[in-house]
Amino acid sequence: MNPSNYVVLSALLFSIGTIGVLVRRNAIIVFMSVELMLNAANLAFVAFARMNGNLDGQVVAFFVMVVAASEVVVGLAIIVTIFRTRRSASVDEPNLLKY
């Protein structure tokens, strides 16, 4: 087995995440798809770190995880706040800034 299979898997997961972001309307599912894309990028980092025999890729993946965790906290707080005011978790609903 070639270690580049990991990178292929990461590309596949990334595209599935992209489709999820584009197609789904529920803000929470869109958010989960973003998390999936971040995870796919992490898998690519880890695989490339192994191919190059260098631990820097794993450190970068670690930082990505930290940033993703804080992003999830703030993003979910924003979703809850929007849900409180608009009674909806759909990404199509908040259109007050449109006009």
Partner: protein, 259 residues
């Protein structure tokens, strides 16, 4: 695809194929399931399998962090928010932008094909060095990552602490709700109840003075007429209330008269 010098063995290939199939099916299930809770559980499956793949890629520290941070903290946070927002908040099928769904599926599949094809073709000649020497240099994977974090990436590491504090503060500020009025006390609630037009006390339970005490049997008033409010509102809404049998009412009336 030509076989190149790799550091993988058969065991890793087995792990890779099992975990990658599970991870991709979890991702597909996340995108395709209609309910948000099912999506959360599917993506938890994907993340656990990614953790196994990290360990197979000689990154045991990241595998553990993946399980603890992603499946442990992030996904549970998602589930809590789903409970706040409403478990059955499913997608609307109305398209705000016409043809957006088809176009995005086509573009996403195109991106996937391009990425997978490009990566699979571009990386055939690569050789894998393997992390054994890099991990052994400091005595292990955790020690190696710690060495890098606390020397070369120290500034970035310190900045992440500031980021985490800011994120926690931001979440608290966003989720905090200021109470503008005093919360109603028991006395206010009681006054409210007696001022309103509703029934101040408990409603009569179903079946009072009737021949049955099933929940769909309305209670009978002293004159024998049924009291609709004694039936629970959901049963009333389905109009499942049992019609009052006037023969029964007469019979009850005769019994009480006779005594």
């Amino acid at each position: 695809m030509t076989e190149v010098a790799t550091d993988t063995n058969v065991g890793e290939a087995v792990v890779f194929w099992i975990c990658s199939i599970l991870a991709v099916s979890g991702a597909l299930g996340m995108v395709l399931s209609r309910k948000a809770v099912h999506s959360a559980l599917w993506i938890a499956l994907t993340m656990i399998n990614l953790a196994i793949l990290y360990v197979a890629n000689s990154a045991p520290f990241l595998g553990m962090v993946q399980v603890i941070v992603y499946t442990g903290a992030v996904m549970m946070l998602f589930l809590f928010v789903l409970m706040v927002v409403g478990v059955d908040s499913s997608d609307s099928l109305i398209e705000t932008i016409k043809g957006q769904r088809i176009a995005s599926i086509v573009l996403g599949v195109g991106l996937g094909v391009l990425l997978v094809w490009g990566v699979a073709n571009g990386l055939t000649e690569t050789t894998s060095v393997g992390l054994d020497t890099a991990n052994a240099a400091d005595g292990g994977n955790v020690q190696g990552i710690a060495h890098l974090i606390f020397t070369q990436y120290l500034l970035a590491f310190e900045l992440t602490s500031a980021l985490l504090i800011t994120a926690a503060m931001g979440a608290m500020v966003l989720a905090h709700r200021e109470r503008w009025l005093n919360p109603p006390k028991q006395k206010d609630l009681s006054t409210e109840r007696f001022r309103g037009d509703g029934h101040p006390g408990n409603l009569p339970p179903p079946g009072v003075y009737a021949r049955h005490n099933a929940v769909d049997t309305p209670a009978l008033l002293p004159d024998g007429s049924p009291l609709e409010e004694s039936i629970p509102a959901p049963v009333r809404a389905r109009s499942d209330a049992r019609p009052v049998d006037h023969a029964d009412v007469r019979e009850v009336h005769e019994i009480t008269e006779g005594e």
